[in-house]
Symmetry: C2
Subunit: 347 residues, 2 copies
């Protein structure tokens, strides 16, 4: 990535992010019952990189050969130059992500999200369940509101529904794995694919389907999304151990304390490391930096952190290779850069 | 309703119920992750009258002039005699109902459902949230699996998505109303329409859309569903006060104890009855039958129970009148009888 392309990418990401922010406010107005919609908008308004909807818009641009930022995204020209509301579909993907965050935070008993109280902390568990449920159906409304030709609308909605089912399955495996010490690399990667990979994959396939891309293109974009989505999660696992708490926005080493399975812990265990003994603290607050440093040292010695980094990098490379199916141009270049960013980022 | 038609209706309802039970088991197999699917099937397997999916099948029969029980419901002839899997859509409606029960029971802290522990009691809150979320997306998968022509698939899915949003809005109003003593009849009826009416309405419009009915027919069926759905809820409110606990399957008068708004309490308050003073018990178990008897007597004196009964009966009559849009026959007759049953039933 040259400096030049980097600046351009920054600009594109920033512009799409602003566009998605505006569209979110527009599509989720504060209507009656007010507390429900207030709670539904709460996490969305607390920020977020809008990576998935941005990727969705970039894919629509790349597939149709539209220069980034040049179109009306409420009347985006599909491959037959017919207008579709691709921005509405982008909002749908962000809203699904938000629904999963709200419900996951209840399930994982996480009280902070994006630097503010989680919805169940700011309001209560009842409101948080209901806010998530509302965003869930809104996402389907938004994808359908793209007004693509019906056959594509059906395919896109099927993809969205299967994606949501898969995310639930992934979360169920994640919870199940917390009480197991014999999780294999294959099982872990399957969980990550379901929990994180498929939503990226939805963000890359749904726009392709909506603009009328050929099956071959949709398939390649599905693999791209799945690979970079998995890489994103594995990189998250690495950052949880290697980034100072201040930059991370949460306590470093929280995965070890909470006994969360990560590719690192699964690999280390297979190397004979007694992962459960690395950090012996009941409460996250009680863990000292030195304990985490020692744990990281042991995991590094076992080659586990390097293994995770390499796996993420390999996934990003194989994901990027899939992009060859797209016409060359700024949008394709941006999708390549986004993939690199996912593993290069430090927080 | 003559004895003859009654016997026939019983047979039709029983046959459709069995059909839906079988289809549920088929479409929700026990797959990995097993605990998730076990929990998702738990309430569905605990029973249920399958009223909504039965109504859905009856509407498909009535609109197409198909004699009840005479078709292959996996390849049901639409108005152009093309096969659609109407049974899959019926399962979708039951699954949505089940998702709302699971999440509502968490929100309302109800520990019993259909005579067995609620999902969050039998498993835990995390699993119950996730089981509901899984059924939510499965419902969309099932309606889309009907394989109707795409334009109809899109319309049916839009209807389902809006229905789910409305149900959340209705539940939010229901919770909000618990802490208010100035709820009007209009507000109450709006809440009931959202919380209960729209799902019946989805059960009557989705099959009409899928088989290719004219807009006029879809509109009439929407009004039929909405009216009988509201009547169903109001009748539930009446039964909560007038049916012995043993028949009810829950403690009689629970709405009064939990300070739930019902059409009865809203009406009584407008008549000057101090509804909050009728039952003064913190715990449902502590209320004596005599207290409930006295409360019912006061509500009867205010004309509130009669008012609710009459409102439900009026809704059923106006709902039934909408059925004139359908061709005469056994299915239409069955839909009329179902409407009557909703307000005639004693539990």
């Amino acid at each position: 990535m040259t400096d030049n392309a980097g600046a351009s990418l920054e600009h594109i990401l920033e512009a799409h992010r602003g566009r998605v922010d505006d569209a979110l406010a527009e599509q989720l107005p504060l209507r009656r019952p007010e507390q429900l919609y207030e709670a539904s908008r709460y996490i969305l308004q607390a920020g977020g990189k809008r990576l998935r909807p941005t990727v969705l818009l970039l894919v629509a641009e790349a597939v149709t050969g539209t220069a980034p930022l040049s179109a009306d995204y409420r009347a985006f020209p599909d491959l037959q130059s017919e207008p579709i509301d691709i921005l509405s579909a982008a909002v749908g993907i962000e809203v699904i992500q938000s629904f999963t965050l709200i419900h996951d935070d209840i399930m994982d008993d996480d009280d902070l999200r994006r630097g503010v109280p989680a919805v169940h902390s700011e309001y209560d568990v009842e409101t948080a369940i209901l806010a998530g449920d509302t965003l869930y159906s809104k996402a389907f409304e938004f994808v359908l509101a793209s007004e693509a030709p019906p056959a594509r609308g059906v395919r896109a909605t099927e993809r969205l529904a299967r994606t949501c089912t898969n995310i639930c399955e992934g979360q169920a495996f994640d919870i199940e794995f917390e009480s197991r010490d014999d999780v294999t690399v294959e099982e872990y990667l399957e969980m990550v694919e379901l929990k994180t990979g498929v939503l990226y994959s939805a963000a890359t396939t749904i726009p392709a389907i909506l603009v009328g891309a050929a099956d071959e293109t949709v398939g390649a974009l599905r693999r791209y999304g799945r690979s970079v989505g998995k890489a994103f999660q594995i990189q998250d696992d690495v950052l949880d151990l290697t980034t100072p708490s201040s930059e991370l926005g949460k306590t470093r080493g929280s995965d070890l304390v909470e006994n969360k399975q990560t590719l690192i812990s699964v690999h280390a265990r297979a190397q004979g490391v007694d992962v459960d003994a690395l950090v012996d603290a009941e409460q996250l607050e009680a863990v000292e930096e030195a304990t985490i440093d020692a744990a990281v040292e042991e995991l590094e010695a076992a080659g586990s952190i390097e293994y995770a980094r390499e796996t993420a990098a390999d996934l990003v490379e194989s994901g990027k290779a899939e992009l060859q199916v797209l016409p060359a141009g700024d949008a394709r270049r941006a999708l390549t850069s986004v993939a690199d960013y996912l593993v290069d980022r430090s927080y």
